[in-house]
């Protein structure tokens, strides 16, 4: 019989020692009921363990910066969780953005308007496009490419905060004055990625593509 509590102690020591502490390595040393108990104990420990202390260099090296940037864009954008979600779904589908846009344009019957479709898709990933204006036909086409239903994409696109994406309120200035980040963390804020794509011309007469992405 395995001593699961000894294995737990060993795991905690490894975790607190700052190593990778992949729990599967320890689980591999127990079987059956012992393994289940060890798994539950390690899970309970990890649920209680303090969060990793902030380390700007460690953060940069972790590869998590793009994800954090996407989440931030989602929190302050007008497209719900799309900025954090669509890039992940593209990765999952092993599609480059250009490939996705090509297929989306084709699915919408707009092969000759690929640039415009691409601009709108860019706005979706950047949280710039109000999700409520995007037609179900677009979401169905996008969903079929990314392996999702139109409904789940619609749900994910709902705004995360009332007023998100609108100009900051006066309270923003007050917050900036009174709640500056700790200087020790100052160099962690990285500039947002360049927004390279050109937005569709707002002065042009709306066409079918505009209607599909911005509503009637």
């Amino acid at each position: 019989m395995t001593d699961v509590h000894a294995l737990l102690e060993e795991y905690i020591a490894a975790h607190q020692g700052g190593g990778e502490a992949d729990p599967r390595e320890w689980l591999g040393r127990a079987e059956g009921r012992d393994r289940a108990v060890l798994e539950g104990l390690i899970d309970a420990y990890l649920a209680r363990a303090p969060m990793r202390a902030w380390d700007p260099d460690g953060f940069r090296e972790s590869g998590l910066a793009p994800f954090a940037e996407q989440v931030t864009t989602a929190l302050h954008g007008r497209s719900g969780a799309w900025p954090a979600l669509l890039p992940r779904l593209r990765d999952r589908a092993a599609l480059r953005r250009a490939e996705l846009i090509e297929r989306l344009a084709a699915a919408l019957g707009a092969q000759d308007r690929q640039d415009k479709v691409g601009s709108y898709y860019h706005e979706m990933e950047q949280g710039l496009l109000p999700s409520e204006g995007v037609d179900d036909k677009v979401l169905a086409a996008l969903g079929s490419i990314l392996g999702q239903s139109a409904e789940s994409l619609r749900r994910a696109g709902r705004s995360l905060l009332p007023g998100a994406g609108e100009p900051p309120a006066a309270s923003a200035q007050a917050f900036a004055r009174h709640a500056s980040p700790d200087p020790a963390y100052g160099d962690a804020s990285e500039p947002p990625p360049a927004r390279g794509a050109v937005s569709p011309d707002p002065d042009a007469e709306p066409d079918e593509i505009d209607r599909l992405f911005r509503g009637g």
């Binding site: 899970d43 309970a44 953060f59 994800f67 719900g80 969780a81 900051p168 900036a176 709640a179 700790d182």
Partner: protein, 194 residues
């Protein structure tokens, strides 16, 4: 900056529409929580999906509406979402995304953070978790402190004894009793926990 301070800072930044401050707080939370979330997820899902599921967890947690909630609830909410996203992974082979914030009525601790994650994972881990929670809830406040320090913080019996003004022998006894109780409460095949 502690966990609660950080959540409070994020609340203020979001409410004020301060993108830069939000970005810093989000970066710190993602960096702080991702490792342990990934470890928890790794025990239950295929290796190639661990990162994806872990990101779903943090996106759901951070996208929740935070209004009027005790900041201490964030960790608990993350824990709940971990279990539910693992369940989602096993339940839906097509892996439909579960990220949209659909705030439920504030009827319980889980609801106040926003989206109600879908199904609870019914597996051995949950049974063990119930056993651990059950054994812990039976302890008096002093014995809970002993368990917190001796098991979850992995301090030696001597260190625990010194901090809590109890004897090392008592620390051993309380710890062993707790372990035995978990063992009793985690049902074996065909057993019913009492």
């Amino acid at each position: 900056m502690g966990e609660d301070e950080l959540i409070a800072y994020l609340l203020g930044a979001r409410a004020a529409g301060d993108r830069e401050a939000t970005g810093l707080a989000v970066s710190m939370l993602v960096y702080g929580f991702m490792g342990n979330v990934q470890r928890r997820v790794a025990m239950k899902v295929a290796p190639e999906s661990v990162e994806d599921v872990a990101k779903s967890v943090l996106l759901s947690a951070l996208a929740s509406p935070f209004d009027g909630v005790s900041v201490g609830e964030f960790r608990k909410w993350v824990g709940t979402i971990v279990q539910r996203r693992i369940a989602d992974f096993h339940r839906d082979p097509r892996r439909e995304i579960q990220t949209g914030p659909l705030p439920t009525e504030h009827g319980g601790d889980e609801g106040v953070w926003g989206e109600e994650p879908t199904a609870e994972f019914e597996g051995d881990t949950v049974d063990v978790q119930r056993a651990i929670d059950g054994a812990y809830s039976e302890l008096n406040p002093l014995h809970r402190q002993v368990i917190d320090l001796s098991i979850w913080e992995d301090l030696s019996a001597g260190e625990v004894a010194e901090r809590l003004d109890v004897s090392p022998a008592n620390v051993h006894k309380i710890t062993q009793r707790f372990r035995d109780r978990i063992d009793e409460l985690f049902p074996r095949d065909g057993d019913t926990a009492s």
